[in-house]
Symmetry: C2
Subunit: 882 residues, 2 copies
Amino acid sequence: MSERYVYSLKDGDSSNRLLLGGKGANLCKMAQSGLPVPAGFVITTEVCRKYMQDPKIMDAIWDDVKKYVAILEKETGKGFNDGKNPLLVSVRSGAPISMPGMMETILNLGLNDETVKGLAESSGNKRFAFDSYRRFIQMFSSVVDEVDFDLFEKALARARAESGITDAKEDYKIPAESLEKLLVEYKAIYKNATGNDFPSDPWVQLRRAIEAVFKSWNIPRAVTYRKINKIDDNLGTAVNVIAMIFGNLGDDCGTGVCFTRNPSTGENKLYGEFLMNAQGEDVVAGIRTPMPIAELEKKMPDNYKRLCELTKLLENTYQDMQDIEFTIERGKLFLLQTRAGKRTASAAVKVAVDMVNEGLIDIKTAVTRVSPDQVEMLLHRQVDKSAKQDVITKGLPASPGAGAGMLVFSADEAEEWARAGKPTILARPETSPDDIHGLFASQGVVTSRGGMTSHAAVVARGMGKPAVCGCEEAAIDVDKETLVVGDRVFKKGDWVTVDGTTGQLLAGEAKMVDATFTDDFKKILDWADENATQMVWANADTPEDAKRAREFGAKGIGLCRTEHMFMGVDRLPVMQKLVVALGGDSAKEARADALAKLKVMQKEDFLGIFKAMEGLPVIIRLLDPPLHEFLPKEPNILEALKTASPEEAKVLNQTLEKVHQLHENNPMLGFRGCRLGMIYPEIYEMQMNAIFEAVAELTKAGISVKPEVMIPLVGTKPEMKFFREMADRIAAEVKKSTGVEFSYLVGTMIEVPRAALVADQLAEYAQFFSCGTNDLTQTTLGYSRDDAENKFLFQYIDKGVFKENPFAELDRDGPGQLVKMAVEKGRSVNPKLSVGICGEHGGNPASIAFCHSVNLNYVSCSPFRVPVARIAAAHAALGVLK
Amino acid sequence: MSERYVYSLKDGDSSNRLLLGGKGANLCKMAQSGLPVPAGFVITTEVCRKYMQDPKIMDAIWDDVKKYVAILEKETGKGFNDGKNPLLVSVRSGAPISMPGMMETILNLGLNDETVKGLAESSGNKRFAFDSYRRFIQMFSSVVDEVDFDLFEKALARARAESGITDAKEDYKIPAESLEKLLVEYKAIYKNATGNDFPSDPWVQLRRAIEAVFKSWNIPRAVTYRKINKIDDNLGTAVNVIAMIFGNLGDDCGTGVCFTRNPSTGENKLYGEFLMNAQGEDVVAGIRTPMPIAELEKKMPDNYKRLCELTKLLENTYQDMQDIEFTIERGKLFLLQTRAGKRTASAAVKVAVDMVNEGLIDIKTAVTRVSPDQVEMLLHRQVDKSAKQDVITKGLPASPGAGAGMLVFSADEAEEWARAGKPTILARPETSPDDIHGLFASQGVVTSRGGMTSHAAVVARGMGKPAVCGCEEAAIDVDKETLVVGDRVFKKGDWVTVDGTTGQLLAGEAKMVDATFTDDFKKILDWADENATQMVWANADTPEDAKRAREFGAKGIGLCRTEHMFMGVDRLPVMQKLVVALGGDSAKEARADALAKLKVMQKEDFLGIFKAMEGLPVIIRLLDPPLHEFLPKEPNILEALKTASPEEAKVLNQTLEKVHQLHENNPMLGFRGCRLGMIYPEIYEMQMNAIFEAVAELTKAGISVKPEVMIPLVGTKPEMKFFREMADRIAAEVKKSTGVEFSYLVGTMIEVPRAALVADQLAEYAQFFSCGTNDLTQTTLGYSRDDAENKFLFQYIDKGVFKENPFAELDRDGPGQLVKMAVEKGRSVNPKLSVGICGEHGGNPASIAFCHSVNLNYVSCSPFRVPVARIAAAHAALGVLK
């Protein structure tokens, strides 16, 4: 525990973001480097953590706060609660990890009926002083005392109307006298709502504002944001108390936000927006439409030049693209904040590759700059430009990519519909931080107000959700739940498509095409492979999937399921004949006939996949699902029986009998996997023959094949021994009959807990393990995935029983422990045992990090997720993903 | 590896049963103690083990065999292959653990056309010599060369008929001349069957006989016997080569079998049977009906006295009841074998207690003398003497207890029907060792021939199967599959009851009553408790069951299921109302109403059980099964809808909707256990209130109550925390409202693998664990019990994938490892954590031994199995059950 709770920007340790927060640490760095930042001080995150336990910590730090306010008075030459030349401050949150807009801020603190006069005098601008006071009351009341913000907005609207002004953009025209009257009304609203007078003592204001910022660490939107972004709930926020700089003192003033590179494209050029004669909140709120940063060059060339120099300096200092807030007060430029800028996925890729080329960062760093989530976004499909499009309206291309869904008008509804499996597009006039869960749940967002740095735009880019912002033509009415453009009316539930790449909103579900890989993207992925220790393989059942997987960078097939091969229209009838003929002696001939036909088909399948994966390993899993999955359902058979000929009826009745025979109460735990192969060895023998004959044929043709035969659902050593011996026997027979030599491996899935518990025994016969974590999760937790999710699992996640859905992210304490055990026990017998994972977790970054930590050789995922897994594997190896 | 393969009875180490086999070791002991045993030598079990690998070992031992034959010649004064005074030997198996009748024996070896003349001369009895030769050819041919035994029997029958003899019992009247002719025929049968002459060289005979005995270690009936009795397949058998003693030389000869105490009742009195002028096989085969041993006193008073002395000496030496074979040759008594006698369960109890009283053994030894299987037999039900009985016929009460089933006439059929779940009674004229699997599978056995020491009687007693033997009135025809007594004909499939206690065969399924506990039995069980380290608790859901469990010696209730309490006719409708009203706000009132009613009922239930178990712990498990189990099935609802009033239809439709809502694909892995309690906390709150209110009420009334609340299906720490806090809160409320102080525990079941994996986390909140090994077996193996057994599990057991059904005997490598892990991890956090088991394995002796090895505090089983578990727990603690 440190003993010091407050640091001046001049003496805070800028490397200690955990203690000072990101904003505080960066302000310290800038201040101590002589950059133009306002004076101020930081109250540490430690105070926040203590405050959560016991608010009395405020007493303990109060002397320190007073001391640093006194220093601030000295530095600014102004006085706190000074009726002549009052010191005003901003009180702002600042967490160790940036959570833009999620917590509270209070500006213009220090104003009361006395100091407002002093501010009017010292600024020579009565209107400015009253407006600042008005803003302060409104912000303080809603943030600190939860007075309804709209009550103030309505009063403001009345004042606006009385002054003959129709547009909020022209609020700066409301005369001082009206504002003075409005202040009386504002204070009455406060008193009416809280029962108390508005606090006039700046010290009381300051203390309550600090507490409000601490408390805002736990407001719902902040908690949601942390949950989505996996930020530790125990970090807490620092509080920055900074002398106010005013961008709204007149036409020699302004305020803005800029990025050192373009956050949408990554282009290496200053990017941003500013407003003349405004406070920072005006830029973000989206009420007035800001000007592009390049315009500043015309308005204030010196300041523009200075801004360019300073921002480049900051980028070089932090070796990353920066997001910077600035304010110009009476011609003097101040930097209010710098932080790593949020960027689109394609910008992340371009910036990373450019910075390597510029010599600013090394390759390892570049790889860590592109997150698995961003790679996923780059794989998002785009609207097919060649198809016909029904454009409803156009706005700003605020976040690229395309998403289609049904219109909803509230964040809660977006979440509900998502739970029910319905894709949505969230439409709002503008979004606020309270809408974050709805943005997360929807396929895209459209707003009628706000620019490229508006809330919706920033958050959507961060999440990789397509967004079209500022569609000014569109009237979005959240009460009527309509989006109207001209005479076109779209209602809740109507399908629309958001094309965030072009900024278009389209009617209906637009045709989409796959994403394309830029050279920069390919380069990042290749760099990722160079830095990973785990390989990425893919799950693919067809030659087409195998080819795609290979194009996406898969280094092998970790799971080729053979059951899908029996589902084709020409094959299913043969498979059904086999299933009906299984068991007993009477149907021996029918069985042999069906098996012979299936073998020919299977061999063709394997030839295709082996060819597509020439030179790379292919793991083929033998038949896994319960046999009843191949038979028609009982009602269908009964229906067919009604019109069947006597001959047909005979077959149908046999089938029906088999359906009854194969019925199970818990098919998940039933007669499937290698249990089929033990009871009906002829099926696995047929599959092995087909595999090895295909291998021999290709080997003879000079094609390199690396077959691995995988036995599903093994739980005991006798099973593994039986199938290893079966494979060795059949391989020897095929070698003999074809005269071709080839090599192969035989292994098993680890998908029931017992397999992990006896992995040492299995490793005596298995040459590789593939952890089937879908089933392993079901059996280890005792959750049937189909049944659990809607019946209790989603509620379990809400209640915090699980932080993540264990079917999406591997549950490390449960199946994770068993995977670890399987690796350790298996390698204790066979140190070279190859172990991989082929459940859906194989494409999940956190799970990939876990796989890295237990030394798996590879992860196998769907072809589409291969690039995500490649970057995740690299991040795991580089230690940035744990 | 020892270097010596053969030992004389005079120098073998009688303590080394593993090397010399039980028979050999005991013969050595007797010989070396100066008791009258024939001369002989033993070939070790090691030779057998080597022989299984490579029969060439016979070459290596042959010189030794020759050497010991030479010694034998010296000792007996006879010569092997000596035409004048030939040495004949018996070649008999002898395993380390007694397997009576399971392996092969060859008598009279050494005879050929020359030596038979010498035997005739030296014995002065031509008829005897020819008869011995006949027996030898028959036995050797069938055992060594697998010549059909019946071919010889038919030839014998012809000879009998030609001699005018009608009954096999009078075979001794067949004249020498006929036998001489028969010998020619016998040799022709051999040649015809094998293509070779019958071997005349005694050395060839000896070598082939020894090999045949070794091979008989692996004949099917021996393998089956070892499987049933869990004897290690790798032990092998010794071979005893012993000089023949003849009980069939004339009226001063005889042979018999006796037990030092009565093997049926345990009475301390010599018990047995003998035949004058006969060979041992005649007693066992049951062709001639032997005389009770007491008759020997009249026939040969001196030998009878000597026999009494010698047998008592042997019992004292071995400190256990002995089963002794003897032969009297020309007035001289020889002991041919002694071994611990197989006995009925009640005899085992009486002998053990008597021997403690006699000072022969100590209490610990007495406890080990009664096996868990025997305790189980003592709990078998008996025919109700007070009910009317339809007696078909009467035989010997060969093995006590009663069993009812459908008549079958072959061992294979008995096994098949048992697999299909059909109880059977096996009826045979007489049984042979090849019928052992049928005896094991049936509920009892009835034979028309054979005495109290016949094969059927001995084996049935060993297995605790009721048997009625020697029902001479009954004609059992295995070809026609009928059992006929007078004009009553019983066919295959007809129900009969075997009353082995009285020796009656009854028609139909007789009414049965529970077993009664003798004082000796109670004493043994009390001694068992004194020597056990694990307690035995019981699973009981009602006050009646709890009382019975307590009477049977349970020291607590390890599992009181609450769901059965909702199944009563007055309760189910209330429970159904609750289930339909769960979830949503609209049915709040209906829910509260149903819960209030259920609470009153539950409290009554708990009052009853707590009272019955006063002073002992009672673990109450909260609601566990999926809710749909309480609702009617869909077809029933649809049926009811057809005739429902509009009011009824409304309720039925609501119910139907709920049935659909609650439907699951894999209910075993679904919405049940504490998952219900998390989503609908009101159910568990109601149950906890009912428990604690009952506790308070009884505590106030001065009744000692030890309640333990058990949460089912917990898999995560947040679940355990939630319910521990819920219980503590409700207990505090009840204490406050009633003003009564009481204590209680809160714990969980370990029944999904994850619970074991995170047992350390659970132990932070759980005060006890109860391993629910039924479900744990299902999830760890991935086997749905309902689906697995008939679909593949029985076949898996046949194929040796599992040695035992893992649902009957805990699979140590699978769920066993998880139980061990739960204990270790749980106690690492809470060293005093109580851990028990409440699956069906809690009543299975081998599983109890495992539980002992991992330091469980208690096992809990059905009340009926409590005595079995008590003895098993003691055996585990005493190290005789592992």
